[in-house]
């Protein structure tokens, strides 16, 4: 599959793979497959990471977001746009390009080698084992001309065959599509697909499809020479090629059928299901294509996905050197005794410091190197901070751990230069929306639990400080941008929301925490207090009225900050659920027993009565 469905984070951004880093974002892009627009992917954002190109749809992000791996890209072209047509990227998967390229050694689906002299396809002997074969392995001569093949030739053929067998049908691996376009073959294709243009799909499934369609069990077409064999035969009567059984063909038939006519399917089928689109186009309707091109070039050169699983190279090398060094030192007779004890510890520390020095030295040589070894540097910084924090108390170390953890995700953080866009205002809004998503992720990230630790509600100022600290001192967000980004949460339907209290204090909280829920929680707590005797003797009937609570009590009870607790209490008071008592102990909040609602009805009735009289008078013409 070329276009894959992707997972999104809570903030509707692609969730990144290990070691993946965001390099560019651009909004207002659409996707094409071949010449056709993909109906569901016409307005969205494109995220270029070191590993992938992700498209996140604006309308239905969870449903229609797709990604394609950079490693699957064979070729990418830039189309600058002309008149009304916007600039596009044409990205070609390897399959379709392979179709155009001249075929390498001719292969059939079974292990056959093609004679270099007469180009007759000979079967590889069944006892030929590529793993054990050597120069002395006896090879049968060509069945047609009698010339002996070279060992490498046969070897290649059998290996190719083996790999193509292992690969799942339609995976787009090379051997399937390297059918030699001899006249016979074109005839085969003509029969099979019914169209003049050979489809880009692997040829083996395409060739096997007609067996089902035309034969219906009566005939069995040879994939090589197209001779209709009897279904019970296992190899072709004419050319001797092994015939593919019905089971195999039926399992791969649906995929093959779909690739037969790519045009009409495009408008209806799901994108991710299709296997080998001709090409994918990314249309940049709001600019940004040039930067995208630059960044994509860099990404394709760096090929970071290759490193994904591999251990970080510099450290591995150094570690190996270090190990070798110590090994040789210990091995060279200096002995274990010398490196044991305090001297050994010191030696170890020295080694480590040397390593660090080396790493820092190489990393800071230039910016490129620093970016390349960002992972190690962050790890180093973390270890330093841990050492520094060794003696201090737990609370700060916890906070620092949180920060360090956040810092390791630096690569995923939106910076102004990552975001593209044509005019200044457009890029500004994109930056803000990305920042907004970024923030939402920061808040809702379960592993970090920023919001959870603050009792589900956090003042914007605290959040701003924490976020900027988490950015590690680079690309700090201005308070203005921050506020604007926070205000976008509502619009972008993110799982957090910005709430402004009556006093103007702004807080971030998760979307599901509404005022009603808060009031309910407060009230149920106050009701519980009716049953709990107060600590000290009180003069009022606590079983009837409960007791008053201060903002501090509430803050302790719900884990909020005091400012937030105050605001929440005032909010509840504003709703008439609570009432206040000002005393020497400060303001206490009580369940509202003053406004029990009996007075609210009376004036209203009076008013309506007055209204009626007035109306009657008016009707009588007295007023």
């Amino acid at each position: 599959m070329f276009l894959k469905h992707i997972d999104l984070t809570t903030a509707l951004r692609p969730s990144y793979l290990d070691g993946e880093a965001l390099t560019f974002v651009q909004d207002n892009v659409g996707l094409y497959e071949g010449k056709y627009k993909l109906p569901n992917q016409q307005k969205g954002q494109v995220y270029l990471t070191t590993h992938r190109i992700c498209y996140v749809d604006s309308q239905e992000p969870r449903k229609h977001s797709v990604a394609l791996d950079l490693k699957d890209i064979e070729r990418y072209e830039f189309y600058a746009g002309f008149l009304k047509s916007s600039a596009k990227f044409i990205i070609t998967p390897p399959d379709s390009s392979a179709r155009n390229s001249p075929a390498a050694p001719v292969q059939a689906t079974s292990a056959t080698w093609v004679c270099t002299i007469c180009s007759f396809p000979n079967p590889v002997p069944s006892n030929f084992d590529p793993t054990t074969a050597n120069v002395h392995t006896p090879l049968p001569p060509c069945l047609a001309c009698g010339i002996k093949p070279a060992l490498t030739h046969v070897l290649k053929a059998s290996i190719n065959n083996a790999t193509s067998r292992q690969a799942p049908p339609g995976a787009g691996s090379r051997p399937q599509s390297v059918f030699n376009p001899t006249p016979r073959d074109t005839r085969l294709i003509g029969d099979g697909s019914g169209g003049s243009s050979p489809s880009g799909a692997g040829f083996s499934p395409a060739a096997s499809t007609p067996n089902l369609d035309s034969g219906g069990g009566s005939g069995f077409q040879c994939p090589r020479c197209t001779f209709e064999n009897h279904p019970s035969l296992l190899s072709c009567e004419i050319c001797g090629a092994p015939l593919i059984s019905h089971d195999v063909s039926s399992s791969i038939a649906p995929a093959a059928l779909r690739t037969d006519s790519p045009g009409p399917v495009l408008t209806t089928g799901s994108v991710t299901g299709r296997e080998t689109p001709e090409s994918v186009k990314i249309s940049f309707r709001a600019g940004g294509e040039k930067i995208f091109y630059e960044r994509l070039k860099v990404c394709m050169i760096q090929r970071k996905w290759l490193l994904q699983e591999a251990p970080p190279i510099p450290r591995a090398n150094r570690a190996a050197e270090g190990n070798n060094g110590t090994l040789s030192r210990t091995g060279s007779g200096a002995g274990r005794n010398k490196s044991a004890g305090i001297a050994g510890l010191e030696q170890m520390g020295l080694d480590r410091r040397k390593n660090n020095e080396l790493m820092i030295g190489t990393s800071f040589e230039d910016l490129e190197a620093l970016m390349a070894s960002a992972k190690e540097i962050v790890a180093l910084a973390e270890s330093f901070s841990r050492q520094v924090n060794g003696g201090s108390d737990n609370a700060t170390s916890e906070a620092n751990a949180l920060l360090a953890e956040s810092a390791s995700q630096l690569g995923l953080i939106t910076t102004k230069d990552i975001v593209g866009g044509g005019s200044g205002s457009a890029s500004e809004s994109l930056y803000l929306s990305e920042l907004s998503r970024n923030l939402a992720e920061f808040l809702t990230d379960d592993s970090r639990g920023v919001l959870k630790k603050a009792g589900g509600i956090m003042s914007l100022v605290d959040l701003w400080a924490m976020f900027n600290r988490a950015r590690g001192g680079v690309e700090l967000v201005s308070p203005n941008d921050f506020e604007k980004a926070a205000q976008l949460w509502e619009k972008l339907k993110l799982p957090v929301r910005l709430r402004t209290f009556k006093s103007g204090v702004m807080v971030a909280q998760s979307r599901d925490r509404t005022d009603e829920a808060t009031v309910k929680a407060l009230l149920s707590w106050l009701r519980d207090l009716h049953d709990i005797p107060p600590d000290t003797d009180v003069s009022w009937d606590w079983q009837e009225f409960g007791r008053g609570v201060t903002a501090q009590d509430v803050a302790e009870r719900f884990g909020w900050s005091i400012a937030v607790a105050e605001e929440e209490l005032e909010m509840a008071e504003e709703r008439g659920v609570l009432c206040r008592e000002e005393g020497i102990e400060g303001i206490k909040f009580w369940e509202n027993f003053i406004d029990t609602g009996e007075y609210r009805k009376r004036p209203r009735r009076q008013v309506t009565e007055n209204d009626r009289i007035l109306r009657d008078l008016k009707a009588a013409g007295l007023l």
Binding site: S539, W540, F545, G576, C579, E581, G583, W590, I594, Y599
Partner: protein, 201 residues
């Protein structure tokens, strides 16, 4: 003058926040309503016609008023809870009652306590002058004293009125009630300051 049997305070009176001015508009309105009905009920129970907000102002007044002042302290100060409605808040309550027609600040012309509008002493109209006028009229009707001349002292302190609602009515309030009747042409007041008489028609 205060009756010895104790006044039955409403539930809110034992609720501490009742003594703090509420900021929520609706709650505050309800608070004012409740205070208003409490004051009216309390004054009716103790037959208080005036309420003084501060003890000093009460001291300057005549005997009955100072008595009222002490009672007001009882009313606004819940000793049991050790909570007190502040003077400013109490004044707000009285102001609210004034708008409802249930109170009126005593114009402090005679002792100069407060010149403009709001003095520290207020009439509490658990019965308004109109209502008092009706009471008087009803009593005159019942006792068939139309056309006779009665002194004001007779009306409020006399043996005959013992048992009627206005027995012991404050002289100033009586004046107000009689003025209502005079305006309607149902009575006529004559005589000097301390020996006034009234004739009902």
């Amino acid at each position: 003058m205060t009756t010895s049997n104790s006044f039955d305070f409403p539930r809110e009176y034992h609720f501490p926040p009742f003594f703090t001015r509420q900021t929520n508009v609706n709650t505050h309105r309800a608070q004012l309503e409740k205070w208003s009905s409490l004051i009216l009920g309390y004054c009716a129970h103790h037959k208080l016609y005036k309420l003084s907000l501060s003890a000093t102002a009460a001291g300057n007044n005549d005997n009955s008023s100072s008595n009222a002042g002490a009672s007001a302290d009882d009313l606004f100060h819940n000793r049991n809870l050790n909570r007190r409605l502040s003077t400013a808040d109490a004044r707000e309550v009285l102001d609210f009652m004034r708008k409802e027609g249930r109170a009126e600040f005593v114009a402090g012309g005679d002792n100069g306590a407060a010149k403009e509008g709001g003095g520290d002493v207020a009439w509490i109209y658990w019965k308004t002058p109109e209502e008092w006028a009706k009471e008087l009229e009803g009593w005159v009707d019942d006792t068939a004293q139309k056309g006779t001349v009665l002194t004001l002292y007779e009306l409020t302190q006399g043996e005959d009125t013992r048992g009627s609602a206005f027995h012991g009515l404050d002289p100033d309030l009586l004046q107000k009630a009689l003025q209502v009747l005079v305006k309607r042409g149902k009575a006529q007041i004559f005589g000097q300051d301390d020996s006034q008489g009234v004739k009902f028609f």
